[in-house]
C-alpha cells in the first residue's frame, strides 16, 4: 500500500539545537498478536472490507536536530483483493528526510511467522532541479487471505529544522485501533486542531504533564469517494499541528482574526495606494453623466480588459525570464503595465471603484472547492481568494474581475456563498458572499424540428448558456481554438440527447465575453427518434434528458451532496409532424415543486405541431446525507417525466411505414 500519498511535511523553521538521533522504538518490537486477530475473517463494522488496520501507531518526536517519526501498521487481510496491501511504498523527500529501521513480517493464519528478509527498493518518483522525491518499496512474502501483515519504520528528519506534522486518521482502510503521540519541539509554540472533527469515541488530543500530546481512536471508518461530495478536507478525520515562532500562539478567535484582518487591510490599502492615478484612470473609463450602475459596469468591464496572467497557459521559467514582466507594487502599476495577476486585477477594480466614489471594500474569501471555511479553525490559509464588495443603490454586490469571463456582479462558484472577511482598519467583519439563484445560471435549449415519416427529427437547436453556465465553459475552453470549441459544443449536444444525433454547429459563439450569454446554434438530425407501435407512433418527450439519466442512481449515500451552484434548464421544443399526422394523446402536464428544486413539463399538440416545455430548476446547494432519499426521489420524478411519450396517429399514406 501507499503509506502516504502526499508529502505532508512543510519546512517551517530553522532551529539551532543539538541532539542524538535515537529511534523511538528499536529492533523488532512487535506487539503481541491475539487469538482473535488470528481467527478474524471479517469485521462487522466494515462488512466486505478487503483488509483492515488492526492497529496503527504514529509517534513523533521533535527534539531539535534528531526529529523522528515512528510508524507502525498491522493489517489483517480479509480477501484476495486485500493482499495488495502487502505491497508497501513509503515516499519521502530526499535530503530533508530519510527512512530507517524498516522491519516487516507476515503472520500466517495458523500463527506461524515469516519475517521479511527481502530487498527494500529505492524508487525515484520525481527528481527535479530543487527536489528529489523517492520511495522505499517492498513486498511481504507468503501473504494469504487470513494473514496478518505488519511493518514499522522511522521517518528521520534533517537536523536543524522542525516540520509541521499531522495525524491522518481517515485512511482507505477501516482502522480498528490507533494511537498517536507528538513530543513537540520545546522552544516553539504549537497549536493543533481537528478540522473535520474526530471519529466517534476518539480521545481528544491532549498534552499531558510529560509535554507529549496523545490521542487514541478506534473504529475509524474507511474513507470513500462519492459523486457530488464535499471537499475531502472537510470529511477526512485528521489532526493538524502548526508550529509558531511566537512565544504564545493566539488562541482567542476574535483577536486572531482581528490581527489577520488589520494586517491584510494595511496590505490592500498599500497596494491600492494613492487614488490620483486611479482617478485619472476612472476619468478615461466613465463619463460624469453616467448613472452609478453604468459607471460601475464600465469600470468592471475595463478591469477585465487588463491582460490576466492567471488565465494564460503556464509558462516555463525561461519564458517568464524573457517576458520581463514587471512586478506590480500597486494598482497604478497594474493599470500602467496593462497586465496583472487575477488578484491584482481585482484590487485594481477596487481602486477604480473607490476612486469613482463607490463605497467599496476589499474582501478576503475562502474558496469552497478545498474547504468549507470556519473561523473557529483559525486557519488564515483557508482565506485564499479576494473579491470586492460594492454597495450600490442599497444593495451589496460582490465582484471578482480577476476571474476571466466572470459576469458582472457574479462570483465564480468557488467563491459564492462562502465565509469571507470584509476588511477595514479595525480588522474587519465576517460576511457571506452572494450566491446567485437558479435564474442567473441557465441552459436554455430551443428546438425547432420537423419529423419525417420515418420518425426522424430534423431542424435547428439553439442552446444558450448564461451566468455561471457560460462562465464555466468559457474558462474550460479558454486555451482552445475554434475547431476544439466547435467539437466541444457538438459533443455537449450529443450528451444532452439520449440517442444518436447528427449535429453541426452553425454559429460562432462569443467565447470572450463576460457580459453576453454563450449561444450555440446547431443544424441537427436525430434518426429514428419516434418509434412505431403497430398502427400508432410514439414520440418521446425527453429530447434533452440524458444528463439526468444516471443522476443519483444509487440508493445508499454516505456523505452530504454538494451542488456547485443553482441552475435552471429550460427546454422549448416544437416538432412539426408529417402531413396528415395527428396527436392521439399527450402525456399529462407535470409540476413537481420541491421548493429548492422544481420540475415542470407541459405539452400540447395542434395543427400538426407538437410543442412541449420542460423546466428543471435547482436551487439546491448542500443537501444533508439524511435527505438523500428525498433528493433521489425528486430526480426519479424528473426521469419519469422525461420518459413520457406522445401518441401519434400517422397519416394514411405513412401508416404502413
Amino acid at each position: 500500500m501507499n503509506f502516504r500519498r502526499v508529502f505532508l511535511f512543510v519546512v517551517l523553521l530553522l532551529i539551532a539545537a543539538v541532539a542524538r538521533r535515537t529511534p523511538l522504538v528499536s529492533g523488532d518490537d512487535w506487539l503481541p498478536i491475539t487469538p482473535d486477530e488470528l481467527k478474524m475473517t471479517s469485521e462487522p463494522k466494515a462488512p466486505g472490507a478487503p483488509a483492515i488496520f488492526l492497529y496503527r501507531e504514529v509517534d513523533r518526536k521533535d527534539s531539535g536536530t534528531a526529529n523522528t517519526e515512528y510508524n507502525y501498521a498491522r493489517i489483517k487481510i480479509l480477501t484476495e483483493e486485500g493482499r495488495k496491501y502487502a505491497n508497501v511504498e513509503i515516499p519521502y523527500l530526499h535530503r530533508t528526510t530519510a527512512i530507517s529501521n524498516i522491519r516487516a513480517r507476515t503472520i500466517r493464519p495458523d500463527g506461524t511467522i515469516v519475517n521479511f528478509d527481502g530487498k527494500v527498493y529505492e524508487k525515484t518518483i520525481e527528481k527535479t532541479k530543487g527536489n528529489t522525491y523517492l520511495a522505499k518499496t517492498f513486498t511481504l512474502t507468503d501473504v494469504q487471505v487470513g494473514s496478518i501483515i505488519e511493518y514499522h519504520f522511522n521517518y528521520d528528519f534533517e537536523d536543524g529544522w522542525v516540520y509541521s506534522s499531522l495525524w491522518v486518521l481517515s485512511e482507505e482502510l477501516f482502522t480498528k485501533r490507533a494511537k498517536f503521540t507528538l513530543k513537540p519541539y520545546e522552544r516553539l509554540s504549537v497549536r493543533w486542531s481537528w478540522p473535520a472533527g474526530l471519529p466517534a469515541g476518539a480521545q481528544v488530543p491532549t498534552e499531558e504533564p510529560d509535554k507529549v500530546i496523545r490521542m487514541t481512536a478506534q473504529d475509524i471508518p474507511a474513507f470513500q469517494l462519492e459523486d457530488y461530495m464535499p471537499p475531502e478536507n472537510e470529511l477526512k478525520f485528521r489532526v493538524d499541528f502548526v508550529y509558531s515562532e511566537e512565544s504564545a500562539i493566539e488562541k482567542d478567535e476574535t483577536r486572531y482574526w482581528k490581527q489577520f484582518g488589520k494586517k491584510n487591510y494595511d496590505h490592500v490599502e498599500g497596494f491600492i495606494g494613492k487614488s490620483q492615478a486611479m482617478q485619472q484612470a476612472v476619468s478615461q473609463i466613465v463619463a460624469p453623466s453616467d448613472p452609478p450602475e453604468v459607471k460601475l459596469q464600465k469600470i468592471y468591464a475595463r478591469s477585465q480588459q487588463v491582460r490576466n496572467l492567471s488565465f494564460e497557459p503556464r509558462r516555463t521559467e525561461q519564458e517568464q525570464k524573457r517576458d520581463k514582466l514587471k512586478e506590480a507594487k500597486n494598482v497604478a502599476d497594474v493599470w500602467s503595465n496593462g497586465y496583472g495577476w487575477g488578484s491584482e486585477i481585482t484590487w485594481l477594480f477596487l481602486g477604480l471603484a473607490k476612486a469613482a466614489g463607490f463605497e467599496a471594500y476589499p474582501v478576503i474569501a475562502a474558496s469552497r472547492n478545498e474547504y468549507f471555511f470556519r473561523p473557529a479553525r483559525m486557519n488564515s490559509h483557508e482565506l485564499n481568494s479576494n473579491v470586492v464588495l460594492v454597495k450600490l443603490n442599497g444593495k451589496e454586490l460582490y465582484f471578482d474581475p480577476g476571474t476571466a469571463f466572470a459576469p458582472y456582479a457574479m462570483l465564480p462558484w468557488q467563491e459564492a456563498s462562502v465565509g469571507a472577511l470584509k476588511l477595514d482598519k479595525d480588522g474587519g467583519s465576517w460576511v457571506t458572499t452572494a450566491l446567485p439563484d437558479s435564474s442567473a445560471s441557465r441552459i436554455e435549449r430551443k428546438a425547432e424540428l420537423t419529423m419525417t415519416d420515418e420518425g426522424s427529427l430534423e431542424g435547428k437547436i439553439t442552446v444558450t448558456f448564461t451566468g455561471l453556465e457560460g462562465l464555466s465553459r468559457r474558462l474550460e475552453l479558454r486555451d482552445k481554438d475554434d475547431a476544439a470549441r466547435k467539437r466541444y459544443l457538438e459533443d455537449q449536444l450529443s450528451e444532452y440527447v439520449p440517442a444518436a444525433i447528427e449535429g453541426e454547429l452553425k454559429s460562432q459563439p462569443d467565447w470572450k465575453s463576460s457580459s453576453e450569454p454563450l449561444v450555440a446554434v446547431y443544424q441537427v438530425k436525430v434518426p429514428g427518434w419516434a418509434s412505431s407501435a403497430g398502427k400508432r407512433a410514439l414520440l418521446p418527450v425527453g429530447l434533452f434528458s440524458a444528463t439526468e439519466k444516471h443522476l443519483f442512481e444509487h440508493a445508499h449515500r454516505e456523505f452530504p451532496i454538494v451542488f456547485e451552484f443553482p441552475f435552471k434548464k429550460m427546454d422549448d421544443v416544437t416538432i412539426e409532424l408529417p402531413l396528415g399526422w395527428q396527436v392521439g394523446s399527450a402525456p399529462k402536464d407535470m409540476d413537481t415543486d420541491a421548493k429548492a428544486a422544481e420540475y415542470i413539463f407541459k405539452s400540447d399538440g395542434k395543427n400538426g405541431t407538437v410543442h412541449f416545455n420542460r423546466v428543471l430548476r435547482s436551487d439546491l446547494f448542500i443537501v444533508p446525507a439524511d435527505k438523500y432519499t428525498v433528493l433521489r426521489n425528486f430526480f426519479q420524478v424528473v426521469r419519469s417525466g422525461d420518459e413520457q411519450q406522445i401518441v401519434l396517429q400517422p397519416g394514411t399514406t405513412s401508416a404502413s411505414q
Binding site: E80, Y121, I125, D481, R487
Partner: protein, 682 residues
C-alpha cells in the same frame, strides 16, 4: 483482461487506455530508438541547431484543420559497435498548429541501466523572437511502477522535458544520444505518428561482417539507399497520421513499422531471424528455472493426492497458482523477460506473469504433464502472422498445457491441435478470473510464440464459440393499472461477461456497494426504481456461471396517455452503442473483445382490465459479424419480449462499418419500442 504488462522492457500505458497506448507508442520511438553519430552543431549557444532551422520554411505535410501538429522531420541513427553495443541518436521537430499540440512540447525519454542517455537537448524556434534551449540539467526525472497494481519496482525511468513556448506556430524539437547494451539485437522504426509526418529517416551503420534483415508491417517496403561502408538510409515522406478511434486495433496493428534484426558474423543469433531462433533464446533464458524444489514437490503432492484424474490434478494446481500466488512484478534488467526460478516464486508466494507460468509448469511436470511457455501480447492485433520474431511485440506470458491422452471435458474449450505436440490447452495463470479450460477474449484468436524444447513457433490461439461468453437474462414481472412494474430478474453470466462482473465486484470494498452494478444497469433503462432485494451467486467460484438475482419495483413504468397504457417491453439492458456516430468516416476496423451471445426473456403480466392494442414489430437483423433478433408477443395476459444478440466476429472491417452502424441504430430503435395497452373491451 488483465492489463499487467509483465513481459516487457517497455513502460506500459495506463490500464485500458487505448489513447494512452497510441500516444505511448508514438513516444516510444523517441524513447527507445535513439543515438548519436551526427551531432549537429548549433549556430550559437542557446540557438536551435541548423537542422531545425532548415525546417522553418519547409512545406507542411497534408493535414486537416483538426491536426494538432505535424512532424516536420525525424531521424534515427543506429551505429552498431562490433561488441554489440549500440550508439543511438534521435532527432525530431514538430510544428505546433493548434493549442492541443502543446503536448509535443512535453516529452519523455525512457532509460535504464542498460540504455543510458549521454546527452539530451531540446529547442523551440518561436515564430518570432529568439530560440529557446533546454539542456539535460533542466530536465526532470520520473520513475515508473504502479505499486497498488502490483508493479512493485522497475529500473526503467524517464527524463521529462518541458520545452518553452510550445505554442501554435512554433517549432519544437529535440536531439538525444544514448548508449545501449541490448539483450537482443533488434530495433523498431515507427514511421507513423498520431500526427502527419513530412519526412522520416532511419540510418543503420553496421560493423564489417554484420548483416541485417528488415521486415515491414502496415507499410509497403522501402528500399534503403547505401550511404557508405555497411551503412544504409531509409527515407519516407508525407505519411498520414494515425488518428485514434474507439475500439480500433492496437498501434502496431495499424502504424507503419520496420523491424530490423541485426546479425553479427559467426552465426551468433542475437537478432532473431526465425521463431525458432527466438524460442531457443527463451529456452536458454529459462534453463533450469522450472526445477522443482522439495517444497514444491511436497505442495504438489498435497494439492493432488486426493485427486485421481489428470484433469483434477491440473485444475488443483491451476487454482493454486491463480489464488495463492499474488501478482507482484519486479523488473530489473533482463528480469523484464526472464522469469524468477520456480523455487523463489513458490517460497515468496508472489511473482509476475512469467513467474506464475514458470511455477505452474514446474508443478505440472511433477504430475507428469508437459507444458510450454507462450509469449503473447494482451492486445490482440499487436502480433499477426506477418509479424517477424521480435521481443518488442510481446508483453505477457501464459502456458500451453499438453493434455494427456484421454483427458476430455466439455469445459476444456481453449484447445488447439498441434501437429507434433497433440492437444494443447492454453491457460493464463495470471488471470485469476478466467477458469481453467477457458481463455479471456483478448487472448482468443491472438498470436503467441509457443516455446518448445526444439525452439519456437508463432501459433494462433483458439477463438471460442459465441456460447462461451454472454448474459442470459430472464425477468418475470407484473404491471399494475397505475403503471407500476415489479418482479424479479435472474441474470446468468458466463465467459468474459462473468469476468467483467467479477472484476467490477472485486474492487468493491463494502458489502452494501455490491448492489451498485445492478442499480447502474437499472438506471440505464428505468427512470424510477427501487431494488428491493439482490443476491450474488458464484462470485468466487469462477468455474461456475456468475449469477445475479434481484427484485425491484418501478413506479410509473407504464405511462398513461389518455386511456392508454404505454409499456416498453424490453424493460432493461442495452446493446446499442454510439461509437460509430461520428462525422468522420471510420478509418480502422472495429475490434470486439470476444465472441458472445446474450439473450433476454422478459415476461410482463399486464393489469386486469387491459388488453394489448399495439405491439412493436419484430426485428431480424443478420450480418456476418453479428446478429440481432427480437420479438414481442402476447400469451394470454402476458406480454413476452425475447431477444438474442450475437457477436460472431472479433474484428469488423472498415468496409462493414456502415453495416455495423446500421445494426446499432436498429437495436437502439428496438430498445425504444413500446407496446400499447388499452382498456379491455369485454
Amino acid at each position: 483482461m488483465n492489463n499487467k504488462s509483465c513481459f516487457s522492457r517497455e513502460p506500459h500505458p495506463p490500464a485500458s487506455s487505448r489513447r494512452a497506448r497510441t500516444h505511448r507508442s508514438a513516444a516510444l520511438a523517441a524513447l527507445f530508438v535513439v543515438a548519436s553519430l551526427l551531432s549537429s552543431p548549433a549556430a550559437k549557444a542557446g540557438d536551435a541547431p541548423s537542422w531545425m532551422h532548415a525546417l522553418v520554411n519547409v512545406p507542411l505535410p497534408i493535414h486537416d484543420e483538426k491536426t494538432d501538429a505535424v512532424l516536420l522531420y525525424s531521424e534515427e541513427i543506429l551505429n552498431v559497435q562490433s561488441n554489440g553495443r549500440i550508439k543511438e541518436t534521435e532527432r525530431a521537430a514538430y510544428k505546433i498548429l493548434r493549442p492541443d499540440g502543446r503536448r509535443f512540447g512535453k516529452l519523455q525519454f525512457a532509460f535504464t541501466p542498460d540504455s543510458k542517455i549521454n546527452s539530451l537537448h531540446a529547442w523551440c524556434i518561436p515564430a518570432q523572437g529568439k530560440d529557446y534551449e533546454v539542456k539535460e540539467k533542466d530536465t526532470a526525472e520520473r520513475g515508473y511502477a504502479d505499486v497498488e497494481g502490483g508493479e512493485l519496482y522497475t529500473d526503467l525511468r524517464a527524463k521529462v522535458v518541458d520545452i518553452p513556448a510550445a505554442e501554435p506556430g512554433n517549432i519544437v524539437g529535440f536531439e538525444i544520444d544514448r548508449d545501449a547494451r541490448p539483450y537482443i539485437l533488434q530495433n523498431e522504426w515507427f514511421l507513423q505518428q498520431t500526427v502527419p509526418v513530412a519526412e522520416a529517416r532511419y540510418t543503420l551503420q553496421l560493423p564489417p561482417g554484420w548483416e541485417y534483415k528488415a521486415v515491414w508491417l502496415n507499410h509497403a517496403e522501402i528500399q534503403p539507399t547505401p550511404s557508405g561502408s555497411n551503412q544504409w538510409v531509409w527515407e519516407a515522406k508525407n505519411l498520414p497520421a494515425i488518428k485514434w478511434e474507439p475500439d480500433m486495433p492496437p498501434w502496431k496493428g495499424v502504424a507503419g513499422l520496420m523491424i530490423v534484426s541485426l546479425v553479427p558474423p559467426g552465426g551468433v543469433k542475437r537478432g532473431f531471424l526465425t521463431w525458432s531462433d527466438m524460442g531457443n533464446w527463451y529456452n536458454e533464458l529459462t534453463q533450469g528455472r522450472r526445477e522443482a524444489s522439495p517444497d514444491i514437490k511436497q505442495k504438489v503432492a498435497a494439492l493432488t493426492s486426493s485427486v485421481s484424474t489428470p484433469l483434477g490434478k491440473m485444475r488443483a494446481l491451476a487454482d493454486f497458482l491463480q489464488r495463492d500466488i499474488r501478482y507482484v512484478a519486479i523488473s530489473l534488467g533482463i528480469g523484464g523477460v526472464q522469469p524468477h526460478p520456480a523455487t523463489e516464486v513458490f517460497s515468496h508466494r508472489f511473482g509476475d506473469c512469467k513467474d506464475k507460468a514458470t511455477l505452474l509448469s514446474s508443478m505440472l511436470k511433477e504430475v507428469g504433464i508437459d507444458s510450454y511457455y507462450v509469449i503473447i501480447n494482451v492486445e490482440r492485433g499487436e502480433v499477426t502472422p506477418e509479424t517477424p520474431p521480435h521481443i518488442g511485440g510481446f508483453n505477457h506470458a501464459i502456458l500451453a498445457i499438453r493434455l494427456p491422452d484421454g483427458v476430455s471435458d466439455s469445459s476444456l474449450v481453449a484447445v488447439v491441435q498441434h501437429p507434433k505436440l497433440g492437444r494443447l490447452l492454453f491457460f493464463d495463470p495470471t488471470d485469476d478470473l478466467t477458469p481453467f479450460g477457458q481463455l479471456h477474449g483478448a487472448l482468443q484468436a491472438n498470436y503467441g510464440m509457443l516455446v518448445t524444447p526444439d525452439g519456437g513457433e508463432l501459433m494462433a490461439l483458439p477463438q471460442l464459440a459465441t456460447s462461451a461468453s454472454g448474459i442470459t437474462r430472464a425477468a418475470k414481472l407484473t404491471l399494475d393499472e397505475h403503471g407500476t412494474l415489479r418482479g424479479e430478474v435472474h441474470e446468468i453470466r458466463v465467459g468474459d461477461s462473468a469476468w467483467y462482473q467479477r472484476e467490477i465486484l472485486r474492487s468493491v470494498d463494502k458489502d452494501s456497494d455490491r448492489i451498485k452494478p445492478i442499480e447502474g444497469l437499472m438506471a440505464n433503462s428505468l427512470g424510477v426504481f427501487q431494488v428491493t432485494g439482490a443476491t450474488v451467486t458464484n462470485l468466487k467460484q469462477t468455474s461456475l456461471p456468475f449469477e445475479y438475482k434481484w427484485s425491484f419495483v418501478a413506479p410509473a413504468y407504464g405511462k398513461t396517455a389518455g386511456n392508454l397504457l404505454l409499456v416498453r417491453p424490453r424493460v432493461l439492458g442495452t446493446k446499442s452503442r454510439d461509437l460509430l456516430e461520428r462525422k468522420e468516416p471510420r478509418q480502422y476496423p472495429i475490434e470486439n473483445e470476444s465472441p458472445s451471445r446474450d439473450t433476454d426473456t422478459i415476461e410482463i403480466t399486464i393489469p386486469a382490465g387491459y388488453e394489448v392494442d399495439d405491439l412493436p414489430p419484430a426485428v431480424n437483423a443478420d450480418y456476418s459479424f453479428a446478429s440481432y433478433h427480437s420479438k414481442t408477443e402476447v400469451n394470454g395476459n402476458t406480454l413476452k419480449y425475447t431477444r438474442t444478440y450475437e457477436v460472431k466476429e472479433l474484428s469488423v472491417p472498415v468496409s462493414k462499418a456502415d453495416e455495423l452502424k446500421k445494426l446499432y441504430r436498429i437495436i437502439a430503435s428496438d430498445e425504444r419500442n413500446t407496446a400499447v395497452l388499452k382498456p379491455a373491451t369485454h
